[in-house]
Amino acid sequence: MQDIRDALLIAPNSEGTLVQRPLSPHLQVYAPQITSVLSIMSRVTGIATSIGTLVLVWWLAAAASGPSAFARVQGFLGSWIGLFVLFGWTASLFYHFFGGLRHLAWDAGYGYSLEATHRSGWAAIIATVVATILVWVIGVAVWPR
């Protein structure tokens, strides 16, 4: 410790451990925590899910247009890039969904303690993984009919 001001920057982090805090915390220097990472994820998945709505609109418009337009969408969605887009959309929709449930609980006044925040955060991650895998297992299982 060379700078005398560094002594003032020793403080507990959100977990309660004493750490040397950065002078100006920002994304580049701030240690990732489940709270901040999931908050950013909520936004990122919101934007990704928004982009995914283009697939929904295309699919509905093609279904309304007729069998040939519909076959084109199905052809794209069945291709590797289509499946990749669908998988990304499913995962980001599920995270935004479960993260959104956390936000609704907070808005109603529940789950503000650090332990509850961590628990609900991990629950959202696990629920996202489980729901995404479940939907794809079911989807692949019924696909050939």
């Binding site: 709505t53 609109v57 309304a64 519909f70 449930l101 079911i138 696909w143 009919r145």
Partner: protein
Amino acid sequence: MSTSTSNRAPAAGAPATINVRRSQLGRVRGAGSAQSGVHHWYVERATAIALVPLTIWFIISILRLVGSSQPAVAHWAGNPINAALLLALVAMTFHHMQLGLQVVLEDYVPDRKRLMSYVLLIKGAALLLGLIAAISVLKLALV
């Protein structure tokens, strides 16, 4: 209402009570809250709550439709209940989407004119996408 009575001059001898923590001049000039500050926040939550059951219904429906032909999808969307739920899903999704994207833009675009252009662009795109989706559903349901 207590606010209206409290702003009248107190009767002679009555103790002056102040219930409104705003200056009378501020009220007259219309400065301050327009009483709609929470509207955006509220509608974002209201649409989110609506999307909880609608999204679950949609994912289950899509799983049952995987691999279906166009006539099968058209038949499914032609069911009035499915069509109504699809329209509700489309309306809530695009309304929620443009509200959320607006907040992201407001956080990261400092220039007011650019911000307004982007927000209007997002709202216009959401409106058009929602209309295309809604008209498609209506065509499947009614034609």
